[in-house]
């Protein structure tokens, strides 16, 4: 029997991490300054998961990829302009607040409900993909909880590679300490795979893929269900960004090794 996968990729929409981000505390809790003005991208970890999902689906005829995202419709739409050119998928949009300062349980509930409601989704063939760690300020537990709510107990985190066997089982490479991988074999779907960076490059923009995706993107956005996420008593004591320090020097004719040594020394300081 052919291996057919129904892959749901959970992906948050986040401010482009290349922008200058500044935490602020507003009346509704922590946020980023001018967040609605900042350009948005797909959480880079989840983007890796999406490309891996598309690659897997392409290798197994009949498989489907669903991109499940929670965020303001306008921002999701903006992100789709770029992402939809990359790989084929069907968008499942949930209209909700921007950012990741939200309770992981209520976020996971909204995502799990959206996945469970996907017409035609075969939960026995489900692979739940997402980013292992998130650039969206989430607690890092959301994907795991989504899986649990969907009753998927085989879970892998920090995944860099899966190899599907003919019998439907698959080998998973999970990152472990020391720069090594833990190798596991999972008997088959359903399973949760929280991806690290994977091994695939960002696909080229393909106009035909974009045209095909866009036929489904706009209707998905139009029917996106609005959800309000409960704080569940969650409060943030403090929010801060990693300390950044910028020192720029223009040098010429300095050997690469010397530059590397200086950078290492600077980081160590």
């Amino acid at each position: 029997m052919a291996n057919i996968f129904h892959i749901a990729v959970c992906a948050s929409v986040v401010p482009d991490p290349l922008q200058t981000l500044e935490p602020v505390t507003g009346p509704t809790g922590p946020g980023l300054k001018n967040e609605m003005m900042l350009p948005a991208v797909l959480d880079p970890w989840a983007a890796s998961a999406l490309y891996e999902a598309a690659n897997l689906a392409a290798a197994h005829a009949g498989s489907k990829v669903y991109l499940v995202t929670l965020g303001p419709k306008a921002k999701v739409q903006q992100v789709m302009m770029t992402v939809a050119q990359k790989v084929p998928f069907e968008l499942v949009a949930v209209d909700g607040p921007l950012g990741g300062f939200t309770d992981a349980h209520s976020t996971a509930t909204a995502l799990a409900d959206a996945i469970a409601a996907i017409p035609g989704l075969d939960r026995e063939r489900l692979l739940l993909f997402g980013g292992w760690e998130s650039a969206s300020r989430g607690a890092g537990a959301t994907l795991q909880i989504v899986g649990e709510r969907l009753g998927v107990t085989d879970q892998f985190q920090g995944v860099d590679q899966i190899t599907v066997n003919e019998d439907g089982s698959f080998e998973v490479l999970e990152r472990v300490e020391g720069g090594k991988h833990q190798v596991s074999v999972c008997a088959g779907t359903p399973a949760v795979l929280g991806w690290a960076t994977g091994n695939l490059p960002e696909p080229r923009n393909n106009p035909q893929v974009g045209m095909a995706n866009m036929r489904g993107v706009m209707p998905a956005l139009q029917k996106a269900k609005n959800v309000k996420l409960n704080a569940n008593g969650l409060s943030y004591v403090s929010v801060s960004l990693p300390k950044q320090q910028r020192v720029t020097r223009v040098v010429r004719d300095v050997p690469e090794d010397e530059i590397a040594r200086e950078i290492v020394q600077w980081i160590a300081e």
Binding site: M37, P39, R204, N205, P207, M211, M218
Partner: protein, 618 residues
């Protein structure tokens, strides 16, 4: 040879796609076009005239390709009268677009030179002395007692084009009737004899020279009955059409400027009111105009325009901008502020004199690249939007009449509307308004004043030379330096110690900039802090040095001085080096080159490329 051979290009097998209308470049003009067109489609969903021929049974298939990686990236803060924009969006003031607000006060300010490094004529120096000693002006600046009517923007609005574009794009995509694809550069129009048949997207998965490399994906040919070109003054498609069909008799794009600006978060105790608009002239060089627009939420756009007629071969927008911001008139408000974003772009300043063929069989041009910017009023966004609206109205008229998109039909609809509009009246009034600047700053001001007050009936005549000829030779321009100073600066640059333009500015008396890490930062830090350059892998270099012998013999290297992102630098050999990952796509290199092989075009070619500066709060 730094390009893929024509034979190879012909051999490459390409995917093809048919659409009804292919659009290039998403700016205000395209926003106006797509907004107007999709509204008509939305209002009349059953109208067979607005259904697709390329995909029968579906609405018109309208696609827009944009090279930057986001439709909000890499553009500028502006003040605009906003007449055409408000005609499209009467309720725009309450739309909640960030950084948008009404103009509350305007000033025209003449800035004196507080340092003594500015290159001023004897007439200007005498005028400055009068202002200082007799009128005792404060903060080294003279506020004009009134704003001439032709410059007035009262009743208009300050806004961020980045935020405005983002909002327009969201509205458009929400309609589901047009698709906008960022991150997709278009390399050329597709020609069939005298007809434009669509566009060719840029090849992906190529090396720096454009040769197929890992993951090669040939750029798709997108065929369309109508190609709408709104890719701005340095866009590859507009320029490919200019190359193919030439320019109308007597027209040429000879006048340019780089607009470079920062969005600054003003200090918390700033007394400046949102909607404050200042236009400045006189400093850092007399020819450099400047501005400060105060947006809501304590944000301000501060910047300068460095024009092609500033003959200085060592002109450098970035350092001039830093000196401009530190002028006492501005610094009293900017000191303590923080840069939030930074950016630059080329402006086509020839206006009607640089207007290309607006239409042809299968294509129409809108926006800045079509010569719509009014350099007398200093206004381009609203005019660009208006041209887009006019084209959309013309297109709908032709579709309903069942007429093809021929030159004659587009002339009778789009061009007719444009000629009958305020865009054209403004363009004609502005046509010769800035000529005087080619004969000196004071003559320029007189000419501009004359043209402004007589609606273009009077102006100063001038022979406007190609941009590359407007740049003086080093020895001529820096003849005021002490003997040996020029050579010393050149030696410093040759040894790699510093750039030639910085050394020359030092030699002219410009003080070193004391970096504060917030607003006054190095040019490289501005790239990192003020936005992020996006350069997706797998695209070819888009800046090409045509004749290497000319570059090798070039002494001025103005391309290096005026490169907004320091993407062009002194190379290891005789050629300048280009680093695509630093290029913000301002296009300044195209016209900041003193060399020409054909007597018209410079020695630098600016092709289609992906990415550019990604700066959100522009």
């Amino acid at each position: 040879m730094n390009e893929v051979s024509a034979e190879l290009q012909q051999e490459i097998e390409r995917q093809q796609m048919d659409v009804d209308i292919a659009c290039v470049g998403f700016g205000p003009a395209m926003g106006g076009f797509l907004t107007t067109l999709t509204r008509e489609m939305s209002a009349h969903p059953e109208d067979p005239a607005l259904s697709s021929k390329a995909a029968p049974g579906l609405p018109l298939q309208v696609l827009c390709y944009e090279r930057s990686d986001d439709i909000a990236a890499g553009v500028s803060g502006v003040v605009t009268g906003g007449k055409a924009i408000r005609a499209s969006f009467p309720e725009i003031a309450s739309a909640g677009i960030p950084m948008m607000g009404p103009v509350t006060q305007e000033k025209i300010v003449y800035l004196l030179d507080p340092i003594g490094a500015s290159r001023r004529s004897a007439v200007l120096r005498a005028g400055d002395a009068v202002l200082r000693n007799l009128l005792r002006v404060e903060h080294n600046a003279f506020e004009l007692p009134y704003t001439p009517g032709f410059l007035e923007k009262h009743g208009g609005m300050v806004m961020s084009i980045g935020q405005f574009n983002q909002w327009v794009g969201t509205e458009l995509m929400g309609s589901g009737l047009a698709q906008v694809w960022p991150g997709t550069p278009v390399s050329t129009a597709l020609f069939d004899g005298s007809e434009v048949k669509g566009v060719r997207l840029a090849d992906q998965g190529v090396d720096r020279k454009g040769n197929p490399d890992a993951g090669f994906m040939a750029g798709m040919d997108v065929h369309a009955e109508l190609t709408v070109v709104g890719d701005g003054p340095v866009g590859a498609v507009g320029r490919s059409i200019d190359r193919k069909f030439g320019m109308p008799n007597g027209h040429a794009q000879h006048e340019w400027a780089v607009g470079m600006k920062m969005v600054v978060e003003l200090p918390e105790d700033t007394p400046l009111e949102a909607g404050t608009v200042w236009h400045t002239f006189g400093y850092p060089e007399p020819e450099i105009f400047g501005f400060m627009y105060v947006h809501p939420d304590r944000l301000a756009s501060v910047g300068i325009f460095v024009p092609s007629w500033l003959g200085n071969p060592g002109r450098t927008s970035y350092r001039y901008l830093q000196h401009f911001m530190q002028h006492p008139y501005l610094w009293r408000y900017l000191n303590g502020g923080t840069m939030r974003s930074w950016g630059a772009k080329s402006l086509a300043e020839s206006g009607a004199n640089g207007e290309p063929f607006l239409v042809g069989d299968g294509y129409a041009r809108i926006g800045e690249g079509s010569g719509s910017t009014n350099m007398l009023t200093g206004s381009g966004v609203d005019e660009a939007w208006a041209t887009g609206v006019q084209l959309a109205e013309g297109v709908v008229e032709l579709l309903r009449a069942g007429k093809p998109f021929t030159r004659e039909n587009l002339e009778a609809t789009y061009v007719r509307r444009r000629r009958e509009s305020s865009v054209e009246r403004g363009a004609q009034a502005a046509k010769e308004a800035r000529n005087g600047f080619h004969q000196g700053f004071v003559r320029g001001l007189i000419g501009m004043g004359l043209a402004g007050m007589t609606k273009g009936k009077l102006s100063v005549a001038a022979n406007v030379r190609p941009a590359y000829k407007q740049i003086d030779r080093l020895k001529k321009f820096y003849s005021r330096l002490e003997p040996g100073q020029l050579e010393k600066a050149k030696q410093e640059a040759a040894s790699g110690g510093r750039t030639l333009h910085d050394a020359l500015m030092d030699a002219c008396g410009w003080p070193e900039v004391a970096y504060d890490g917030k607003l006054l930062v190095t040019q490289q830090d501005a790239l990192l802090m003020g936005g992020k350059v996006q350069a997706a892998p797998g695209f070819a270099d888009h800046v090409i040095f045509r004749d290497h012998a000319l570059c090798a013999a070039c002494e001025e290297r103005t391309c290096i001085a005026m490169c907004s992102g320091q993407a062009i630098t002194r190379g290891d050999g005789t050629m300048p080096a280009f680093d695509r990952e630093k290029c913000i796509h301002c296009g300044a290199c195209l016209w900041n080159c003193t060399q020409s092989a054909d007597g018209e075009h410079s020695n630098i070619e600016f092709r289609a490329g992906a990415g550019g500066l990604h700066s959100a709060e522009n």
